[in-house]
Symmetry: C2
Subunit: 209 residues, 2 copies
DNA sequence: GGCGTAATTGTTCAAGCGTATAATAACCGT
DNA sequence: ACGGTTATTATACGCTTGAACAATTACGCC
């Protein structure tokens, strides 16, 4: 019986590794596969350590969900350029790697399935959702204004809901069955659709010109 | 120790009850809450009986997933009337009860999170998805043709993907946060959006005239 | 009307679960 | 250098899990 060697790591790094290991477990075998023991194995530590950093299994799952949401939204919320380019980038980012892939979907769906069960997860979810939709609504308002179009709050709200839905749905389809679509097909469909919805040309992103 | 009274039920009814109990468990507490014992309690039988009807827990979950998909798609695939009315009904049905509610979403998300884990669930999913999208593509083709519009396969495919995405996304939003929308708001947005996408008025459903 | 078949119950088992706790080793201030 | 603090390991506990099995009862058939 040789004892496992001790390795001390900085707190932030350890917490990060543990959450990453949790996400790996969930992506590979769902929430049920994310047991403290499996997480510990994946992180290369022993199970007891998890309770040293997180007060319960529930707690580490909540932190992991925060990370998932951040990954899904952070890139899209930092688009730059003129209004047209920002809106275009927002669309492209949400339908290409690393936001759109089957791992993201597995993680997202695992947590979503618990949103109606765990009020804490529900709160985390709603915060992320509203922030995402508000960001999109802002992009749309700027874009419409820059084109001299009607940018009334009511219209922006409706367009934000519709485009958000469209992006969510296409993201879903792409993650679930990417092989059914041609390269960049979903991005093209999304851009064409948004053009039709707002009634103004958006133009192709640089990569597709 | 008084023994639980025996109650023999017809096979199809028992199987149905067991699957229904499984769905209740999943909706209430996720896949992890769907243990053989919980399912048995919910169905009013003992745990052993489940293994008499289903060769394993995996098996009953697969059957339950089939039921979920059927519930989500069967109504929309049986729309009637002229092409315009069929397309309109398809949209409305998918965004109103009983297809759109938080229970449906919990069930759907629970299974989706396992699609990349269990190949059998993956096959069940893909079958349902393609059948749904093909139905929509047919409706669109008929609708475009009836309006004297371009109904080429390429255009119908792209429109089907876009509208399917839009409906999926709005369904999601509605299920997850129905309280953020006004009554019928999502249906109205969907109809307006589809009009914009196909470039032809669809008209309001009877209930909203 | 009794008998065989099959549905249903109750019990048992090994494995795995989340958590608690004691032993150990690395790091930090002095 | 060393003593205190705490990160980390290891082990233990009580409970739940999916599954297997034996005992029991209802029903169909002759």
């Amino acid at each position: 019986m040789t004892r496992r060697p001790f390795h001390r790591a900085p707190e932030s790094e350890r917490r990060h590794d543990l959450i990453e290991a949790t996400l790996d477990c969930i992506a590979e075998s769902g929430l049920q596969g994310a047991t403290v023991r499996q997480i510990a194995i994946k992180a290369g530590v022993t199970a007891g350590l998890i309770r040293h950093y997180f007060s319960s299994k529930e707690h580490i799952l909540q932190e992991a969900y925060r990370v998932v949401i951040a990954r899904l939204t952070e890139k899209a919320e930092r688009v730059t350029g003129d209004p047209e380019e920002r809106l275009r980038s927002f669309i492209v980012i949400n339908l290409t790697e690393p936001v759109a892939n089957s791992r993201s979907l597995s993680l997202w769906a695992s947590f979503i399935s618990q949103v109606s069960v765990d009020p804490m997860l529900s709160a985390i979810h709603r915060e992320g959702y509203l922030s995402f939709r508000n960001a999109l609504e802002g992009l749309i308002a700027d874009f419409l204004a820059s084109k001299g179009q009607d940018a009334s709050p009511a219209r922006c709200r409706a367009l934000a809901i519709a485009i958000n839905g469209l992006l969510d749905g296409l993201w879903l389809e792409g993650c679930l069955a990417g092989d059914l679509f041609e390269e960049r097909e979903l991005v093209k469909i999304a851009l064409d659709s948004v053009e039709a919805l707002v009634g103004v040309p958006i133009g192709l992103p640089k990569a597709m010109e």
